[in-house]
């Protein structure tokens, strides 16, 4: 494996200041807050509103300390009032006395604590936060023994349902504003805000009864409102139905039990939980999470704290979507097909049947390998090695989505074996970021948050996309409008502009100069998403753009395992570490590490996913070895189903029953992330290792493949995690020739006859994916699917905003509401895999292809 740590950069000298806190001298960087400086010397000043990742508020006044500062003559002068240490920065020679050495500070803190507690309910025994509550804890350390308050407490009706997922108990709230500051400063989807004043002040959503006014005109809840959650959605502060992918973070940072998650509410006590650090499995960001479990059952997940990656934030999907791992359809025992039906079998029998079947298929045409994009690196290397050495094939492709040969070339050239490239910290510091084929908020949630942090510090974001999404708007981003499939035009023209080449006369010169200039600045980044695979020439153009501007390029796939899979060589023509399969030297290195003869490795580039499915359909391939693959995610699910049905022999490694296991001859159960150790490579190229949170007898993919290999008389060296790691480490970094850059290709945009439009679309963060199963509260916050099109396009189809429209192909039809959006003409956008809107499945087409559009017939519905 290649270098995995951030390259040490020459750090600029940091200007420091020295102060004294409780008689301890401490030197900290200039601009450090007193409360942080105190932490440096182990002094904990109590606090509620203070949060290191949020702007100071100074609202709760719990962190008061006594401060003296030298005046101009150098005489120490005490400030007349105690100061909030969360808002005051350290100055040279400052002398701070906290509750430990100052009676005034101690009394001030106790006084504030008493005031905070007087209106706070004493429902700790039933409160979710009880046992891990900053208010409870600090009331014990910095509060009075008992209260003097004998008067009437302020009460509120029990909880406000902010969304189907988030509940708010106002009487517990201490109005620290952490939640509102998070939603404003971090996520940018303000859904709750302060209302009323004085003792009546409360956190709330848009409520006409409280605010005494209606939503501003033009923001009424129209039927066509976009980004509307499917479940309960109260109006947010703008009067729009509240929708946020990050609202769960407010539950975690709430210093009391005011904000709670619907799923976890009243379910367990913190002191009964065992907490295990883990890594989010839902996207390629590799977010640090914490899995809290009790007696073998996961009760909740929280964000971990990893300043280099996700800081302290995760998406609601990473937080709430974990029940899939313990769903009722978990496969608990191996199964073999007998008389057309699967029946439980012992591991011995199942491995035997699988081995014999695979061997026969291998020898009579070959086995196609579809490992799926969600593997750990350990699994990915085992899959890669199993395919190349045991099955002797290069017909291996992890991509269960729209893909292209150009993409493989791009990944082999620019991604595989490059180690840690662009990092989250680089995004934060980048002066300009161009997104292409990537909707950051939907496809890489915490990456969006980090981009937004950069934007707040002055960065600019550009996006090649069909319209300005809510996410792009919150990045204050500039849209470079492109119909799906034509992204290469913008990228290519920008590259030409930056390189000083001729640009088409029709190009928007002003924008080109602006964007190319911005990307030419030191530290600029081009982020490309996996959807560029559907835009011919786009990957090649992105590389040219990066080269011409000097911007760094990073590839952000959706699935957690894809970056590691690229590293392991789960693509045709690509061996581990970025070694081109066609390079004899590369093959020799891999063969040596894997302990096989050079000649045993395939030498010609194999088939990609579609190629494998095609070959299975026509009998060219005799069998298939399939990992965590949802056939509905394939560009053409019907085709995939036909292919696996036609396949002579199918072995499936799965966690839960799926369409593939329905078609498989042998099903070998594998462990979900929570029951195993492993590591993901996130999109940065950073290794994200995690241990098993739960005790489990479930086996990892690499353990199962190791056993299967043994059954076939081969060695995989992946029987346990340590062995698997050694096998990976045995391959040193590749210093040979890298694969060449993808060739420039172009394709003419499809013709758009009357009655049709070009399909655009991407998957939303929360959709119909099976890894969100069993979480109805979360599902309620998923966006309701709509068909977006421009006003002109809609007029052409004789539909209006809010009308129901049917998008169809010869395969089928989808009927949803129209949302008129300012976007490129002749394009209709649909979410690709939302409930009631499974585009690949229903229509059999991918973005960039034409679809028919017509007003929905009366009563017609998806």
């Amino acid at each position: 494996m290649t270098a995995t740590t951030d390259k040490p950069a020459a750090a600029p000298p940091v200007e420091t200041v020295t102060c004294t806190i409780d008689d301890v001298e401490v030197t900290v960087p200039k601009g450090t807050l007193v409360i942080r400086a105190a932490e440096q010397v182990g002094i904990q000043i109590p606090r509620f509103c203070d949060h290191p990742l949020l702007e100071p508020a100074g609202a709760c006044r719990q962190c008061l300390v006594e401060v003296s500062m030298p005046d101009r003559e150098g005489n120490l002068r005490a400030m007349p009032k105690p100061q909030a240490s969360c808002t005051m920065t350290v100055t040279p020679g400052m002398v701070v006395r906290t509750q430990h050495t100052s009676h005034v500070a101690d009394k001030a803190q106790q006084g504030v604590m008493e005031l905070l507690l007087m209106n706070h309910p004493l429902d700790c025994p039933v409160c979710d936060k009880g046992g891990e509550c900053p208010l409870q804890n600090q009331a014990m350390t910095n509060g009075r023994g008992d209260t003097r308050f004998v008067d009437v407490k302020r009460t509120f009706p029990k909880p406000i349902e902010v969304s189907s997922q988030i509940l708010l108990d106002r009487e517990r709230c201490i109005l620290c504003q952490r939640c509102t500051r998070f939603s404003e400063e971090i996520a940018g989807d303000v859904f709750i805000d302060l209302q009323e004043r004085g003792a009546e002040q409360q956190i709330g959503r848009f409520d006409e009864e409280i605010l005494d006014f209606a939503p501003p005109s033009g923001q009424d809840r129209a039927d066509s409102a976009v980004d509307v959650p499917q479940g309960v959605a109260l109006p947010d502060t703008s009067g729009q139905p509240f929708a946020s992918y990050f609202s769960g973070n407010t539950v975690q940072i709430c210093p009391v039990g005011a904000l709670t998650g619907a799923k976890y509410r009243f379910r367990s006590r913190p002191f009964d939980l065992v907490s295990s650090p883990a890594i989010g499995e839902h996207d390629a960001c590799g977010s640090a999470i914490r899995v809290d479990h009790r007696r073998g059952k996961v009760m909740r997940r929280l964000s971990g704290n990893d300043p280099a990656v996700n800081e302290e934030w995760i998406t609601d999907k990473d937080r709430f979507a974990f029940t899939w791992q313990a769903a009722d359809d978990r496969i608990t025992t191996p199964m073999v097909r007998e008389d057309g039906a699967l029946r439980p079998a012992s591991w011995v029998e199942a491995l035997d049947v699988a081995a014999r079947g695979l061997a026969a298929a291998r020898d009579s045409g070959g086995v196609g390998v579809l490992p799926g994009g969600r593997l750990t690196v350990e699994d990915a290397f085992a899959w890669s090695r199993f395919a190349r050495t045991v099955l002797g094939t290069d017909d291996v492709d992890q991509r269960v989505r729209v893909h292209s040969v150009e993409e493989v070339d791009f990944l082999a050239h620019a991604v595989a074996g490059t180690g840690v490239g662009v990092t989250f910290a680089d995004l934060e510091k980048a002066p300009a970021v161009l997104l292409a084929g990537l909707e950051a908020e939907e496809e890489a949630g915490v990456t969006f948050l980090r981009l937004r942090k950069g934007v707040k510090a002055g960065a600019r974001v550009f996006s090649v996309a069909p319209f300005t999404s809510r996410g792009l708007a919150r990045l204050d981003g500039t849209l470079l409008p492109a119909a799906p499939g034509t992204e290469a035009e913008w990228l290519g023209t920008l590259a030409a502009q930056a390189a000083g080449d001729l640009v088409p006369a029709s190009a928007d010169r002003e924008t080109l100069e602006d964007v190319a200039g911005a990307l030419g600045a030191e530290g600029a980044v081009v982020l490309v998403g996996e959807r560029l695979a559907g835009a011919p020439g786009a990957y090649a153009a992105a590389l040219r753009l990066a080269e011409a501007t000097g911007a760094r390029i990073a590839w952000i796939p959706r699935r957690a395992g894809e970056r590691g899979g690229v590293e392991a060589g789960l693509l045709p023509g690509l061996l581990p570490g970025g070694r081109p399969l066609t390079d004899a030297g590369a093959r020799a290195e891999v063969a040596a590490a894997w302990g096989v003869d050079d000649a045993a490795l395939p030498q010609a580039r194999g088939l990609d996913t579609v190629g494998i499915l095609d070959a299975l359909s026509v009998g060219q391939l005799a069998g298939a070895l399939v990992g965590g693959v949802e056939l509905a995610d394939m560009p053409d699910p019907e085709h995939a189903r036909r292919a696996l049905r036609a396949a002579g022999f199918v072995v499936s490694l799965e966690v839960r029953a799926s369409e593939v296991t329905e078609l498989a001859d042998v099903v070998l159960p594998v462990a979900p992330p929570v029951e195993r150790a492993g590591s993901y490579w996130n999109w940065e190229g950073r290794v994200r290792p995690f241990a098993a949170a739960l005790d489990s007898t479930a086996l990892t993919d690499h353990r199962v493949l190791d056993a299967l290999a043994a059954q076939l008389g081969a060695t995989l060296g992946a029987a346990d995690p340590v062995q698997a790691h050694r096998a990976i480490a045995a391959l040193r970094p590749w210093h040979g020739e890298r694969a060449p850059a993808p060739q420039q290709t172009t394709s003419d945009p499809p013709a758009v006859p009357a009655g049709t439009a070009v399909l655009a679309g991407w998957r939303l963060l929360l959709d119909d994916g099976r890894m969100q199963d069993g979480e109805p509260f979360l599902a309620g916050t998923a966006k309701t699917p709509v068909a977006r099109m421009s006003a002109a396009t809609a007029a052409g189809f004789d539909v209006f905003d809010g009308d129901r429209v049917t998008v169809s192909t010869d395969r089928g039809a989808i009927t949803v509401a129209v949302a008129i959006t300012e976007m490129v003409d002749h394009v209709v956008w649909l979410p690709l895999a939302s409930r009631g809107c499974r585009v690949h499945d229903a229509l059999g087409v991918s973005p960039g292809q034409p679809v028919r559009v017509a007003p929905a017939e009366k009563g017609g519905d998806a």
Partner: protein, 444 residues
């Protein structure tokens, strides 16, 4: 003996005193013409030399405040006039704007010119619709006469003035809450630094001044800094409006140099209402600790009032005679603070909520001896612990009234309740009412 004088009140008794013509007939806008011929830096220096201190309560030197603005960077800078007069007892700016708004408008024009501002705002308390309308009319008249707008009097200097009505929140008199409110946000005080001089309205350098401060500027320009500083005391120079209200024979605005005493003012105002004696008074509104008859000869300037344990504040002299229950008065003030606390910080939000309940309990006779110490301790936990001065102000009447009238508080405790007849303290009738002649006679 300090005499009354007429500077800002010079035309209040004139026919149509609020009209521009009336103001100009009395020499109005001479200051602006003179200012436009003066170097702005000299104007700032002139105001510094005059010793003018903020008339909104805190008494910060006005010229120094202007001097805090950073060097011009080509971007906008703003003057915001704080006309959100809401303090209980304080009633000087609103009468001034009602009677003679052009004093303020001319002051705005001169100040804006001095600090390089091309768009000034006057933030008026929302409840005083009549004053809002009068100000709008005054600004309209000034525009029509060429005192505002483009190329004022051929000087090449442009100034827009916007009069904005608040929505009724005491906290918006706090300058940063005012700025948030003016920007269309929820009015809550901002974290400082940055101070408004650096990042105020729309994050641009901003001067926020009280109405009376700005209205005093034309006089300084017209008559000179020396004239102004010759008035009043050494450190509290100039003239001020003293607003007498409550149990006084002739309540109203009394303009005098700073340093006049309440005894002198009461002489002018006909004394405490007939047949009664002074019990306690506020020197500068409800947020300033109360005084008693002992303080009748305290010169009403910043230093002397401070030395006597209170604050000059807004010179809102509320006079209470012996018919007034101090507990009841303080309790009503506390209701005000509890109602007006913005809710941002814990001490003020929760503290006023609690203080209010304790005071109501005491007034109703349900208090205990320990409640007085509790009140004082709570005040100690609020004073200087709150985010802004509102919380501090809420404690002043309580601590000072317990200091001077503890026995009166104690008389309420232990089920006894209030020993006063509240009707006697009302202004409309302080004698026991005879039964109405027709009581019980039926009628229509």
């Amino acid at each position: 003996m300090t005499e009354l004088m007429a500077a800002l009140t010079d035309t209040w008794d004139a026919e149509n005193s609020w009209k521009l013509s009336t103001y100009e007939a009395a020499g109005g806008y001479e200051g602006l013409r003179r200012a436009l011929r003066t170097d702005p830096a000299d104007l700032v220096q002139m105001v510094k030399d005059s010793g003018l201190r903020g008339r909104g309560g805190a008494g910060f030197p006005t010229g120094m405040k202007w001097g805090f603005l950073p060097e011009p960077d080509g971007g906008p800078r703003y003057l915001v006039v704080n006309a959100d007069e809401s303090e209980p007892g304080t009633c000087k700016d609103i009468p001034l704007m009602m009677a003679s708004p052009q004093h303020l408008v001319e002051g705005v024009a001169i100040t804006s010119f001095a600090i390089g501002c091309h768009h000034a705002f006057i933030y008026v308390r929302g409840e005083v619709l009549h004053v809002y309308r009068r100000l709008l009319a005054a600004v309209r008249e000034a525009y029509a006469a060429g005192h505002l707008g483009r190329d004022i009097h051929g000087s090449g200097y442009d100034l827009e003035v916007t009069v904005h009505a608040g929505a009724g929140a005491y906290i918006c008199g706090e300058e940063t809450a005012l700025l948030d409110s003016l920007e269309g946000r929820r009015g809550q005080p901002r974290l400082k630094p940055p101070f408004p001089a650096v990042a105020g309205l729309y994050a641009r350098p901003t001067v926020v001044n009280n109405v009376e401060s700005i209205a005093s500027v034309p006089g300084i320009v017209t008559h000179g800094a020396d004239w102004f500083s010759s008035l009043g005391t050494e450190k509290s120079s100039g003239h001020g409006l003293f607003s007498l209200s409550g149990h006084v024979t002739r309540p109203g605005q009394y303009e005098a140099p700073l340093g006049i005493t309440l005894r002198e003012l009461l002489d002018q105002a006909g004394g405490v209402r007939a047949g009664h004696q002074l019990k306690f008074w506020t020197p500068g509104g409800s947020s300033t600790p109360i005084f008693t008859h002992e303080h009748l000869d305290v010169p009403l300037d910043y230093e002397s009032v401070g030395a006597a344990g209170s604050m000059l504040g807004t010179r809102a002299l509320q006079i209470f005679d012996e018919t007034t229950c101090v507990v009841r008065a303080v309790s009503r003030w506390t209701d005000f603070y509890a109602h007006e606390s913005c809710g941002k910080c814990t001490p003020c939000r929760e503290g006023t909520y609690w203080l209010k309940q304790i005071l109501h309990r005491i007034e109703a006779g349900d208090g205990e001896e320990t409640d007085l110490d509790l009140l004082l301790d709570l005040c100690d936990n609020i004073l200087g612990r709150a985010f802004c001065a509102l919380g501090d102000g809420a404690t002043s009447p309580i601590t000072s009234s317990i200091q001077y009238f503890r026995t009166e508080y104690e008389a309420h405790l232990g089920g006894r309740g209030c020993p006063f007849d509240p009707a006697r303290s009302t202004l409309f009738d302080d004698t026991p009412q005879a039964p109405p002649a027709l009581a019980g006679a039926g009628g229509h």
